[in-house]
Subunit: 377 residues, 2 copies
């Protein structure tokens, strides 16, 4: 339909699901990633083998397409900036991506724009943190987060005492927040400045893996909190001048405050339920943003629960989805497998969306599914 | 997920939409058709260039896969039968496909099993028909249908008088039916014999092109007629021993009778709305049938209208979807473009599904869309 060529850096599950959404719209959709074994390889019009962290690979790829998007933040910054200078449309912009990739800059941004977030300090590394503890300017317990490259539960550590091991990287340190719940809100903004916001989701974590175990939508929030949260997100996406999706993770504290935790400028795990549960899936929405098309509706069609299918703890190797056929026999259950060639403990291998009349009834189905389905090797 | 390799004969829009449905399930999904320019080329794991009417091409393709399906009836019969004899799983079976491909055998089948259909006679060709008219055993007006190869409004002619031109092929001739409405019901049956039936849709034709102009679901039928229609379809799919989808087109006469018009043993134009409007899309349902998985739910999530996007009358060439961006700005409107490289008058270039609170409100949106959107070249 559109003669513009879209190129996405990254061929994991997010690239794959964007690619699936691109097909009904007949889009020219290219992917750059290391190997044809990756999830998105057969969900695009062209798959280019290369490394999205490598300057030359990104430049060569970017010059072949009209619009450059991402499915992961850890791409080569310099190449994105140079492609912008060559007149390419890079979404999100290299400037906003630079802020988001560095949790320190992210936090400073929130502070600058009066966006609520947990109080924090920045440290160059574990030695500085130890010094601060020694001088009493920092007290246990606290949360240490590496500024760059943390992903899927990596790079975050709760430091309870001198016994806890500090992460060896430039970090931000936050006070422990008195968390009541963790929510996420997905917003979309196109180049014309149109903004659409999805309903908040509530996330429940797998403590062991520090990954989302399941989420449900709508989040159980008071109407006042919902309105406040959506307002915050619309302020944030505007101030950051983001084009495309922005997934905003927030804490609701026991005092009823909302604190922004972190953001991702791309489709996000917390939006997977939108494929079946919202009027427009986050993946189609991202394509609409990339092409500066009018945004699609974000209304929820049905309450939903999303479960990540994680690799079982003790298995590494070619995945076997034990119990999948029984899961597919359940009504209103939608299976998404990413096609990863190897399962590993807690690796995200797929997800399942349950459409339900109420979150309560959906949670019963979730329990059954989690008992039946195991990714072994 | 499933190590079985699916091979589909035909790479048009139905193959493409099956291929899109295969991706979230991580299926090994192969397509055979003439050219990589065809719609399904980038919606499969492997596209094999070849001719599905050619014995050698189908045999070579079929031997590479485990389960053979179709997206069009006009495939090489002998090859399907020989592949079955070699132990391949062919769905639908060559025996049922043989009946369905020949409208004469189809009608005889209905008669044999007491399934209601318009009365008919078979003729070897136009000369026999003329003779029958001459001897008075056949009287004007009547409908002539070629027994084999008719498709998308081709091969059907209403013969009003000796002025009307007879089709030059082995044909069946039916009395004109006093049609109140045309409906279609989609049913699915897996190898275990599980049957799921979708809600009836009502079809409105573009008289000029003799193609479905739009359809809506649920059809406006009395509860009694709905029940009767679904019962007929479940009897039919069982008697024909169909595995996979069976789309059944029926007439409701002004007297309230239901008459089976014709069937197709595959995903069908009358089921496109199921992608957004039903709990399970017809394309995922067909994959479940091919793999003998439990069938998915067929409940309607929302009333829906489906419009075919047809090539505008006066244009042939590289398609331009004039007005598409305005259409995408409408809420609850889902665009599907098939990616055909050339538009031609009345060619099916895509479809649009409108989700609506009521058919009445949806029809207003349909009118707007049909005014805005034109496929030109």
């Amino acid at each position: 339909m559109n003669t513009k060529r879209i190129g996405i850096l990254g061929g994991g599950q997010l690239g794959k699901m964007m690619g699936i959404a691109a097909q009904p719209l007949d889009l020219d959709f290219w992917i750059l990633d290391k190997s044809l074994d990756f999830p998105a390889a057969h969900s695009c019009t062209h798959f280019v083998e290369g490394d999205f962290t490598n300057y030359e690979d990104v430049m060569a790829f970017g010059r072949q397409v009209d619009i450059i998007g991402i499915e992961i933040e850890g791409v080569n910054d310099q190449a994105l900036q140079d492609l912008e200078n060559e007149g390419k449309n890079v979404i999100p912009s290299s400037a906003s991506l630079k802020i988001i990739k560095d949790k320190g800059l992210q936090k400073q941004f929130y502070k600058k724009y009066n966006l609520p977030t947990a109080s924090f300090k920045l440290y160059d590394g574990p030695d500085d943190i130890s010094d601060a503890v020694a001088t009493g300017s920092l007290v246990y317990p606290f949360v240490q987060k590496v500024r760059k490259g943390g992903y899927d539960g990596q790079g975050v550590s709760i430091i309870k005492s001198s016994e806890s091991k500090l992460l060896r990287a430039s970090s931000l340190v936050e006070n422990l927040v008195d968390i009541k719940k963790e929510i996420a809100i997905l917003a979309a903004r196109n180049q014309s400045g149109q903004i659409h916001i999805y309903d908040p989701v509530e996330m429940v974590f797998n403590e062991e893996a520090n990954l989302v175990d399941y989420l449900f939508c709508p989040a159980q929030l008071t109407l006042e909190t919902q309105v406040k949260a959506k307002f915050l997100v619309s302020k944030l996406i505007n101030e950051m001048d983001i084009v495309g999706l922005l997934a905003v993770e927030m804490f609701e504290t026991n005092k009823g405050e909302l604190l922004i935790n972190e953001v991702a400028p791309r489709p996000h795990n917390s939006g997977h339920h939108t494929i079946e549960a919202a009027m427009t899936s986050q993946f189609e929405q991202q394509l609409r943003c990339l092409l500066n098309l009018p945004l699609g509706g974000t209304a929820l069609r049905s309450p939903a629960i999303m479960i990540n299918i994680l690799g079982a703890y003790a298995y590494t190797g070619k995945p076997i989805y034990d119990g999948i056929s029984e899961v597919m026999a359940m009504e209103n259950v939608y299976v998404h497998l990413y096609g990863k060639k190897e399962t590993r403990p807690f690796r995200k291998m797929g997800h399942i969306t349950i459409l339900c009349d109420s979150i309560e009834s959906g949670l019963q189905k979730k329990e059954k599914i989690q008992k039946k389905l195991r990714v072994i090797a």
